[in-house]
Symmetry: D2
Subunit: 116 residues, 4 copies
Protein backbone atom coordinates (compact mmCIF):
# COMPACT_ATOMS: atom_id res chain seq x y z
CA UNK A 1 0.00 0.00 0.00
CA UNK A 2 2.79 2.38 0.98
CA UNK A 3 4.25 3.33 -2.35
CA UNK A 4 7.23 5.55 -1.68
CA UNK A 5 7.67 6.59 -5.24
CA UNK A 6 11.08 8.14 -5.52
CA UNK A 7 13.99 6.68 -3.62
CA UNK A 8 14.89 10.07 -2.31
CA UNK A 9 15.24 10.77 1.35
CA UNK A 10 13.39 14.06 1.28
CA UNK A 11 9.83 13.15 0.55
CA UNK A 12 8.98 14.61 -2.83
CA UNK A 13 5.71 16.47 -3.21
CA UNK A 14 4.14 13.37 -4.82
CA UNK A 15 4.75 11.20 -1.80
CA UNK A 16 1.62 11.10 0.22
CA UNK A 17 1.32 9.04 3.35
CA UNK A 18 -2.27 8.51 4.29
CA UNK A 19 -4.09 7.15 7.31
CA UNK A 20 -4.92 4.18 5.19
CA UNK A 21 -1.22 3.45 4.65
CA UNK A 22 -0.86 3.38 8.37
CA UNK A 23 -3.60 0.77 8.69
CA UNK A 24 -6.11 3.22 10.03
CA UNK A 25 -9.41 2.70 8.27
CA UNK A 26 -11.97 5.37 7.62
CA UNK A 27 -14.30 4.24 10.36
CA UNK A 28 -11.59 4.25 13.00
CA UNK A 29 -12.52 7.61 14.51
CA UNK A 30 -16.18 6.64 14.99
CA UNK A 31 -15.36 3.26 16.52
CA UNK A 32 -17.19 3.83 19.80
CA UNK A 33 -20.25 5.16 18.00
CA UNK A 34 -20.26 2.10 15.70
CA UNK A 35 -19.97 -0.33 18.60
CA UNK A 36 -22.84 1.42 20.38
CA UNK A 37 -25.03 1.13 17.26
CA UNK A 38 -24.21 -2.56 16.86
CA UNK A 39 -24.96 -3.30 20.50
CA UNK A 40 -28.33 -1.65 20.03
CA UNK A 41 -29.00 -3.83 16.97
CA UNK A 42 -27.94 -6.90 18.95
CA UNK A 43 -30.55 -5.88 21.55
CA UNK A 44 -33.18 -5.65 18.80
CA UNK A 45 -32.36 -9.19 17.63
CA UNK A 46 -32.70 -10.47 21.19
CA UNK A 47 -36.02 -8.60 21.36
CA UNK A 48 -37.11 -10.53 18.27
CA UNK A 49 -36.33 -13.80 20.02
CA UNK A 50 -38.47 -12.75 22.98
CA UNK A 51 -41.31 -11.84 20.61
CA UNK A 52 -41.20 -15.24 18.87
CA UNK A 53 -40.97 -16.98 22.23
CA UNK A 54 -43.99 -15.11 23.59
CA UNK A 55 -46.08 -15.78 20.42
CA UNK A 56 -46.42 -12.12 19.51
CA UNK A 57 -48.53 -11.41 16.41
CA UNK A 58 -46.60 -12.07 13.15
CA UNK A 59 -47.07 -8.57 11.73
CA UNK A 60 -45.63 -6.97 14.86
CA UNK A 61 -42.56 -9.20 14.55
CA UNK A 62 -42.20 -8.21 10.88
CA UNK A 63 -42.30 -4.53 11.89
CA UNK A 64 -39.46 -5.13 14.33
CA UNK A 65 -37.47 -7.06 11.68
CA UNK A 66 -37.82 -4.06 9.34
CA UNK A 67 -36.55 -1.75 12.08
CA UNK A 68 -33.49 -3.98 12.60
CA UNK A 69 -32.78 -4.21 8.87
CA UNK A 70 -33.07 -0.43 8.62
CA UNK A 71 -30.62 0.01 11.51
CA UNK A 72 -28.13 -2.35 9.82
CA UNK A 73 -28.45 -0.51 6.50
CA UNK A 74 -27.94 2.80 8.27
CA UNK A 75 -24.79 1.45 9.94
CA UNK A 76 -23.55 0.21 6.55
CA UNK A 77 -24.18 3.61 4.96
CA UNK A 78 -22.16 5.39 7.62
CA UNK A 79 -19.31 2.92 7.22
CA UNK A 80 -19.45 3.37 3.46
CA UNK A 81 -19.42 7.16 3.73
CA UNK A 82 -16.29 7.04 5.88
CA UNK A 83 -14.73 4.51 3.51
CA UNK A 84 -15.33 6.80 0.51
CA UNK A 85 -14.07 9.85 2.41
CA UNK A 86 -10.88 8.17 3.56
CA UNK A 87 -9.82 5.02 1.73
CA UNK A 88 -11.21 5.90 -1.71
CA UNK A 89 -10.20 9.58 -1.55
CA UNK A 90 -6.71 8.59 -0.39
CA UNK A 91 -6.35 6.28 -3.38
CA UNK A 92 -7.34 9.16 -5.68
CA UNK A 93 -4.79 11.48 -4.11
CA UNK A 94 -2.04 8.89 -4.44
CA UNK A 95 -2.80 8.49 -8.13
CA UNK A 96 -2.05 5.36 -10.10
CA UNK A 97 -4.29 2.39 -10.66
CA UNK A 98 -5.42 1.93 -7.08
CA UNK A 99 -8.40 4.26 -7.43
CA UNK A 100 -9.96 2.00 -10.07
CA UNK A 101 -9.67 -1.05 -7.83
CA UNK A 102 -11.03 0.85 -4.82
CA UNK A 103 -14.01 2.23 -6.73
CA UNK A 104 -14.83 -1.19 -8.19
CA UNK A 105 -14.64 -2.74 -4.73
CA UNK A 106 -16.90 -0.06 -3.21
CA UNK A 107 -19.44 -0.40 -6.02
CA UNK A 108 -19.58 -4.16 -5.52
CA UNK A 109 -20.20 -3.63 -1.81
CA UNK A 110 -23.06 -1.24 -2.65
CA UNK A 111 -24.47 -3.82 -5.10
CA UNK A 112 -24.46 -6.43 -2.30
CA UNK A 113 -26.30 -3.99 -0.01
CA UNK A 114 -28.92 -3.37 -2.71
CA UNK A 115 -29.49 -7.05 -3.39
CA UNK A 116 -30.44 -7.92 0.18
Amino acid sequence: MTTTETGADTPSSTEVVTDHDRGIHGYHHQKQEHLKRLRRIEGQIRGLQRMVDEDVYCIDILTQVSASTKALQSFALQLLEEHLRHCVADAAVKGGDEIDAKVKEATQAIARMLRT
Copy 2:
Protein backbone atom coordinates in the same frame (compact mmCIF):
# COMPACT_ATOMS: atom_id res chain seq x y z
CA MET B 1 -57.71 -24.78 7.39
CA THR B 2 -61.29 -24.95 8.63
CA THR B 3 -60.72 -26.66 11.92
CA THR B 4 -64.02 -27.05 13.68
CA GLU B 5 -62.59 -27.96 17.03
CA THR B 6 -65.04 -29.69 19.25
CA GLY B 7 -67.62 -32.05 18.03
CA ALA B 8 -70.20 -29.68 19.46
CA ASP B 9 -73.74 -29.49 18.35
CA THR B 10 -73.94 -28.39 14.74
CA PRO B 11 -71.79 -25.32 14.26
CA SER B 12 -73.61 -23.18 11.74
CA SER B 13 -71.96 -22.94 8.36
CA THR B 14 -70.73 -19.42 9.00
CA GLU B 15 -69.11 -20.25 12.31
CA VAL B 16 -65.54 -21.27 11.74
CA VAL B 17 -63.03 -21.49 14.55
CA THR B 18 -59.47 -21.16 13.36
CA ASP B 19 -56.06 -21.53 14.94
CA HIS B 20 -55.85 -17.79 14.75
CA ASP B 21 -58.94 -17.38 16.88
CA ARG B 22 -57.26 -19.48 19.50
CA GLY B 23 -54.24 -17.14 19.55
CA ILE B 24 -52.03 -19.57 17.67
CA HIS B 25 -50.18 -17.66 15.00
CA GLY B 26 -48.95 -19.07 11.73
CA TYR B 27 -45.34 -19.23 12.81
CA HIS B 28 -46.13 -21.17 15.97
CA HIS B 29 -45.18 -24.56 14.59
CA GLN B 30 -41.73 -23.40 13.41
CA LYS B 31 -40.94 -21.64 16.67
CA GLN B 32 -37.75 -23.57 17.42
CA GLU B 33 -36.46 -23.10 13.90
CA HIS B 34 -37.14 -19.36 14.10
CA LEU B 35 -35.36 -19.03 17.43
CA LYS B 36 -32.36 -20.90 16.03
CA ARG B 37 -32.20 -18.56 13.03
CA LEU B 38 -32.43 -15.48 15.24
CA ARG B 39 -29.70 -16.74 17.56
CA ARG B 40 -27.48 -17.20 14.50
CA ILE B 41 -28.21 -13.62 13.41
CA GLU B 42 -27.43 -12.42 16.94
CA GLY B 43 -24.08 -14.19 16.60
CA GLN B 44 -23.46 -12.39 13.30
CA ILE B 45 -24.11 -9.02 14.95
CA ARG B 46 -21.67 -9.86 17.72
CA GLY B 47 -19.19 -10.86 15.00
CA LEU B 48 -19.63 -7.39 13.50
CA GLN B 49 -18.72 -5.83 16.84
CA ARG B 50 -15.54 -7.90 16.97
CA MET B 51 -14.67 -6.82 13.41
CA VAL B 52 -15.09 -3.13 14.24
CA ASP B 53 -13.13 -3.60 17.46
CA GLU B 54 -10.25 -5.29 15.65
CA ASP B 55 -10.15 -2.64 12.87
CA VAL B 56 -11.05 -5.06 10.10
CA TYR B 57 -11.12 -3.53 6.59
CA CYS B 58 -14.34 -1.55 5.94
CA ILE B 59 -15.37 -3.53 2.86
CA ASP B 60 -15.15 -6.84 4.76
CA ILE B 61 -17.42 -5.42 7.44
CA LEU B 62 -19.89 -4.27 4.77
CA THR B 63 -19.93 -7.81 3.33
CA GLN B 64 -20.83 -9.18 6.75
CA VAL B 65 -23.54 -6.53 7.22
CA SER B 66 -25.08 -7.62 3.89
CA ALA B 67 -25.06 -11.24 5.06
CA SER B 68 -26.88 -10.28 8.27
CA THR B 69 -29.44 -8.16 6.41
CA LYS B 70 -30.04 -11.06 4.03
CA ALA B 71 -30.54 -13.45 6.95
CA LEU B 72 -33.05 -11.05 8.53
CA GLN B 73 -34.95 -10.68 5.23
CA SER B 74 -35.01 -14.42 4.83
CA PHE B 75 -36.44 -14.83 8.35
CA ALA B 76 -39.05 -12.17 7.55
CA LEU B 77 -40.03 -13.95 4.33
CA GLN B 78 -40.59 -17.24 6.13
CA LEU B 79 -42.67 -15.52 8.80
CA LEU B 80 -44.68 -13.79 6.09
CA GLU B 81 -45.28 -17.03 4.21
CA GLU B 82 -46.65 -18.68 7.34
CA HIS B 83 -48.74 -15.61 8.08
CA LEU B 84 -50.31 -15.72 4.60
CA ARG B 85 -50.89 -19.47 4.82
CA HIS B 86 -52.54 -19.31 8.21
CA CYS B 87 -53.80 -15.92 9.36
CA VAL B 88 -54.70 -14.49 5.95
CA ALA B 89 -56.13 -17.75 4.59
CA ASP B 90 -58.18 -18.19 7.79
CA ALA B 91 -59.64 -14.72 7.34
CA ALA B 92 -60.62 -15.63 3.78
CA VAL B 93 -62.33 -18.83 4.94
CA LYS B 94 -64.24 -16.99 7.65
CA GLY B 95 -65.53 -14.53 5.08
CA GLY B 96 -66.67 -11.03 5.91
CA ASP B 97 -64.55 -7.91 6.00
CA GLU B 98 -61.60 -9.32 7.88
CA ILE B 99 -59.80 -10.51 4.74
CA ASP B 100 -59.54 -6.92 3.45
CA ALA B 101 -58.00 -5.72 6.70
CA LYS B 102 -55.59 -8.69 6.83
CA VAL B 103 -54.45 -8.23 3.23
CA LYS B 104 -53.95 -4.48 3.75
CA GLU B 105 -51.93 -5.16 6.89
CA ALA B 106 -49.75 -7.78 5.15
CA THR B 107 -49.15 -5.50 2.16
CA GLN B 108 -48.07 -2.69 4.46
CA ALA B 109 -45.64 -5.06 6.19
CA ILE B 110 -44.18 -6.01 2.78
CA ALA B 111 -43.89 -2.31 1.88
CA ARG B 112 -41.91 -1.72 5.09
CA MET B 113 -39.61 -4.64 4.21
CA LEU B 114 -39.04 -3.18 0.72
CA ARG B 115 -38.25 0.27 2.01
CA THR B 116 -35.37 -0.80 4.21
Copy 3:
Protein backbone atom coordinates in the same frame (compact mmCIF):
# COMPACT_ATOMS: atom_id res chain seq x y z
CA MET C 1 -64.77 -13.52 -4.26
CA THR C 2 -68.06 -14.33 -5.90
CA THR C 3 -68.98 -17.18 -3.62
CA THR C 4 -72.37 -18.53 -4.48
CA GLU C 5 -72.90 -19.65 -0.96
CA THR C 6 -75.95 -21.78 -0.52
CA GLY C 7 -79.57 -22.10 -1.31
CA ALA C 8 -78.97 -22.16 -5.04
CA ASP C 9 -80.13 -25.07 -7.08
CA THR C 10 -77.54 -27.68 -6.62
CA PRO C 11 -74.07 -26.30 -6.46
CA SER C 12 -72.65 -28.66 -3.87
CA SER C 13 -71.32 -26.98 -0.76
CA THR C 14 -67.72 -27.59 -1.79
CA GLU C 15 -68.16 -26.17 -5.25
CA VAL C 16 -67.16 -22.54 -5.31
CA VAL C 17 -66.79 -20.64 -8.55
CA THR C 18 -64.50 -17.68 -8.22
CA ASP C 19 -63.47 -14.80 -10.48
CA HIS C 20 -60.14 -16.50 -10.73
CA ASP C 21 -61.73 -19.62 -12.18
CA ARG C 22 -63.25 -17.45 -14.83
CA GLY C 23 -59.84 -16.06 -15.79
CA ILE C 24 -60.44 -12.70 -14.14
CA HIS C 25 -57.37 -11.77 -12.15
CA GLY C 26 -57.32 -9.63 -9.06
CA TYR C 27 -55.98 -6.57 -10.80
CA HIS C 28 -58.67 -6.65 -13.51
CA HIS C 29 -60.83 -3.98 -11.94
CA GLN C 30 -57.96 -1.47 -11.63
CA LYS C 31 -56.72 -2.05 -15.17
CA GLN C 32 -57.06 1.58 -16.33
CA GLU C 33 -55.35 2.85 -13.20
CA HIS C 34 -52.47 0.38 -13.70
CA LEU C 35 -52.01 1.36 -17.34
CA LYS C 36 -51.94 5.04 -16.35
CA ARG C 37 -49.27 4.35 -13.71
CA LEU C 38 -47.16 2.38 -16.20
CA ARG C 39 -47.42 5.10 -18.85
CA ARG C 40 -46.19 7.59 -16.27
CA ILE C 41 -43.21 5.31 -15.48
CA GLU C 42 -42.51 4.97 -19.21
CA GLY C 43 -42.39 8.78 -19.35
CA GLN C 44 -39.90 8.80 -16.46
CA ILE C 45 -37.64 6.37 -18.34
CA ARG C 46 -37.77 8.59 -21.42
CA GLY C 47 -36.93 11.53 -19.15
CA LEU C 48 -33.85 9.60 -18.00
CA GLN C 49 -32.74 9.22 -21.61
CA ARG C 50 -33.07 12.97 -22.13
CA MET C 51 -31.04 13.60 -18.97
CA VAL C 52 -28.21 11.31 -20.12
CA ASP C 53 -28.35 12.85 -23.59
CA GLU C 54 -28.10 16.40 -22.18
CA ASP C 55 -25.22 15.49 -19.83
CA VAL C 56 -27.17 16.24 -16.67
CA TYR C 57 -25.20 15.82 -13.42
CA CYS C 58 -24.86 12.14 -12.38
CA ILE C 59 -26.45 12.59 -8.94
CA ASP C 60 -29.56 14.20 -10.44
CA ILE C 61 -29.92 11.22 -12.77
CA LEU C 62 -29.58 8.85 -9.81
CA THR C 63 -32.34 10.73 -7.99
CA GLN C 64 -34.62 10.23 -10.98
CA VAL C 65 -33.69 6.52 -11.19
CA SER C 66 -34.70 6.13 -7.53
CA ALA C 67 -38.03 7.82 -8.26
CA SER C 68 -38.70 5.38 -11.12
CA THR C 69 -37.70 2.36 -9.06
CA LYS C 70 -40.01 3.56 -6.27
CA ALA C 71 -42.88 3.98 -8.74
CA LEU C 72 -42.32 0.42 -10.05
CA GLN C 73 -42.23 -1.00 -6.52
CA SER C 74 -45.39 0.87 -5.67
CA PHE C 75 -47.12 -0.58 -8.76
CA ALA C 76 -45.90 -4.06 -7.75
CA LEU C 77 -47.24 -3.62 -4.22
CA GLN C 78 -50.69 -2.68 -5.49
CA LEU C 79 -50.73 -5.64 -7.86
CA LEU C 80 -49.65 -7.91 -5.02
CA GLU C 81 -52.34 -6.58 -2.69
CA GLU C 82 -55.03 -7.31 -5.27
CA HIS C 83 -53.51 -10.73 -5.92
CA LEU C 84 -53.65 -11.60 -2.21
CA ARG C 85 -57.18 -10.26 -1.87
CA HIS C 86 -58.50 -12.17 -4.85
CA CYS C 87 -56.42 -15.08 -6.11
CA VAL C 88 -54.94 -16.15 -2.78
CA ALA C 89 -58.12 -15.59 -0.79
CA ASP C 90 -60.12 -17.51 -3.44
CA ALA C 91 -57.75 -20.45 -3.11
CA ALA C 92 -58.26 -20.41 0.65
CA VAL C 93 -62.03 -20.42 0.26
CA LYS C 94 -61.91 -23.31 -2.22
CA GLY C 95 -59.90 -25.35 0.25
CA GLY C 96 -57.59 -28.14 -0.75
CA ASP C 97 -53.93 -27.89 -1.61
CA GLU C 98 -54.12 -24.86 -3.87
CA ILE C 99 -53.65 -22.38 -1.05
CA ASP C 100 -50.20 -23.79 -0.27
CA ALA C 101 -49.09 -23.43 -3.88
CA LYS C 102 -50.53 -19.91 -4.14
CA VAL C 103 -48.88 -18.73 -0.93
CA LYS C 104 -45.53 -20.23 -1.95
CA GLU C 105 -45.79 -18.52 -5.34
CA ALA C 106 -46.67 -15.15 -3.78
CA THR C 107 -43.82 -15.41 -1.27
CA GLN C 108 -41.35 -16.14 -4.06
CA ALA C 109 -42.60 -13.07 -5.94
CA ILE C 110 -42.06 -10.96 -2.80
CA ALA C 111 -38.56 -12.44 -2.43
CA ARG C 112 -37.76 -11.41 -6.01
CA MET C 113 -39.00 -7.88 -5.27
CA LEU C 114 -36.79 -7.70 -2.17
CA ARG C 115 -33.71 -8.91 -3.99
CA THR C 116 -33.71 -6.15 -6.58
Copy 4:
Protein backbone atom coordinates in the same frame (compact mmCIF):
# COMPACT_ATOMS: atom_id res chain seq x y z
CA MET D 1 -6.94 12.13 -13.25
CA THR D 2 -4.95 15.34 -12.84
CA THR D 3 -5.33 16.83 -16.27
CA THR D 4 -3.41 20.10 -16.49
CA GLU D 5 -5.07 21.33 -19.60
CA THR D 6 -2.49 22.83 -21.90
CA GLY D 7 -1.06 26.05 -23.14
CA ALA D 8 -1.21 27.60 -19.71
CA ASP D 9 1.90 29.20 -18.40
CA THR D 10 2.96 27.42 -15.23
CA PRO D 11 -0.21 26.29 -13.48
CA SER D 12 0.50 26.47 -9.77
CA SER D 13 0.67 23.11 -8.04
CA THR D 14 -2.71 23.60 -6.35
CA GLU D 15 -4.49 24.46 -9.57
CA VAL D 16 -5.94 21.33 -11.05
CA VAL D 17 -8.43 21.43 -13.89
CA THR D 18 -10.48 18.28 -14.15
CA ASP D 19 -12.98 16.89 -16.64
CA HIS D 20 -15.59 17.72 -14.10
CA ASP D 21 -14.63 21.40 -14.14
CA ARG D 22 -15.19 21.37 -17.85
CA GLY D 23 -18.71 20.03 -17.41
CA ILE D 24 -17.82 16.52 -18.52
CA HIS D 25 -19.40 14.07 -16.13
CA GLY D 26 -18.11 10.65 -15.32
CA TYR D 27 -20.71 8.86 -17.38
CA HIS D 28 -19.97 10.89 -20.50
CA HIS D 29 -17.83 8.26 -22.16
CA GLN D 30 -20.45 5.51 -21.77
CA LYS D 31 -23.29 7.68 -23.03
CA GLN D 32 -24.31 5.42 -25.93
CA GLU D 33 -24.24 2.34 -23.72
CA HIS D 34 -26.40 4.11 -21.12
CA LEU D 35 -28.94 5.21 -23.71
CA LYS D 36 -29.13 1.66 -25.07
CA ARG D 37 -29.78 0.28 -21.57
CA LEU D 38 -32.49 2.87 -20.91
CA ARG D 39 -34.22 2.15 -24.23
CA ARG D 40 -34.27 -1.53 -23.29
CA ILE D 41 -35.86 -0.64 -19.92
CA GLU D 42 -38.41 1.56 -21.72
CA GLY D 43 -39.26 -1.50 -23.83
CA GLN D 44 -39.75 -3.56 -20.66
CA ILE D 45 -42.19 -0.96 -19.28
CA ARG D 46 -44.16 -1.04 -22.53
CA GLY D 47 -44.13 -4.84 -22.23
CA LEU D 48 -45.70 -4.46 -18.78
CA GLN D 49 -48.50 -2.37 -20.27
CA ARG D 50 -49.19 -5.09 -22.82
CA MET D 51 -49.26 -7.70 -20.06
CA VAL D 52 -51.78 -5.71 -17.99
CA ASP D 53 -53.84 -5.03 -21.11
CA GLU D 54 -53.94 -8.73 -22.03
CA ASP D 55 -54.86 -9.82 -18.48
CA VAL D 56 -51.67 -11.81 -17.93
CA TYR D 57 -51.46 -13.62 -14.58
CA CYS D 58 -50.49 -11.25 -11.70
CA ILE D 59 -47.41 -13.22 -10.64
CA ASP D 60 -45.97 -13.15 -14.16
CA ILE D 61 -46.38 -9.37 -14.21
CA LEU D 62 -44.63 -9.12 -10.83
CA THR D 63 -41.71 -11.15 -12.22
CA GLN D 64 -41.37 -8.69 -15.08
CA VAL D 65 -41.57 -5.72 -12.68
CA SER D 66 -38.69 -7.23 -10.69
CA ALA D 67 -36.65 -7.60 -13.88
CA SER D 68 -37.23 -3.92 -14.73
CA THR D 69 -36.35 -2.78 -11.22
CA LYS D 70 -33.18 -4.86 -11.37
CA ALA D 71 -32.24 -3.31 -14.73
CA LEU D 72 -32.77 0.18 -13.30
CA GLN D 73 -30.66 -0.61 -10.22
CA SER D 74 -27.95 -2.01 -12.44
CA PHE D 75 -27.96 1.19 -14.53
CA ALA D 76 -27.77 3.25 -11.34
CA LEU D 77 -24.82 1.21 -10.06
CA GLN D 78 -22.86 1.77 -13.26
CA LEU D 79 -23.58 5.50 -13.16
CA LEU D 80 -22.51 5.59 -9.51
CA GLU D 81 -19.29 3.73 -10.23
CA GLU D 82 -18.35 6.24 -12.93
CA HIS D 83 -19.33 9.11 -10.63
CA LEU D 84 -17.05 7.81 -7.88
CA ARG D 85 -14.21 7.19 -10.33
CA HIS D 86 -14.40 10.65 -11.89
CA CYS D 87 -16.27 13.31 -9.95
CA VAL D 88 -15.50 12.07 -6.43
CA ALA D 89 -11.89 11.14 -7.23
CA ASP D 90 -11.37 14.55 -8.92
CA ALA D 91 -12.62 16.30 -5.81
CA ALA D 92 -10.15 14.30 -3.72
CA VAL D 93 -7.28 15.27 -6.02
CA LYS D 94 -8.22 18.94 -5.91
CA GLY D 95 -8.15 18.84 -2.14
CA GLY D 96 -10.08 21.23 0.05
CA ASP D 97 -13.59 20.81 1.35
CA GLU D 98 -15.20 19.63 -1.87
CA ILE D 99 -14.47 15.95 -1.22
CA ASP D 100 -16.62 16.03 1.95
CA ALA D 101 -19.56 17.52 0.06
CA LYS D 102 -19.15 15.06 -2.84
CA VAL D 103 -18.97 12.03 -0.54
CA LYS D 104 -22.01 13.19 1.44
CA GLU D 105 -23.93 13.71 -1.78
CA ALA D 106 -22.97 10.26 -3.14
CA THR D 107 -23.89 8.57 0.14
CA GLN D 108 -27.29 10.23 0.13
CA ALA D 109 -27.85 9.00 -3.43
CA ILE D 110 -26.96 5.45 -2.32
CA ALA D 111 -29.36 5.81 0.64
CA ARG D 112 -32.15 6.78 -1.77
CA MET D 113 -31.36 3.73 -3.92
CA LEU D 114 -31.53 1.47 -0.85
CA ARG D 115 -34.82 2.87 0.32
CA THR D 116 -36.72 2.08 -2.84
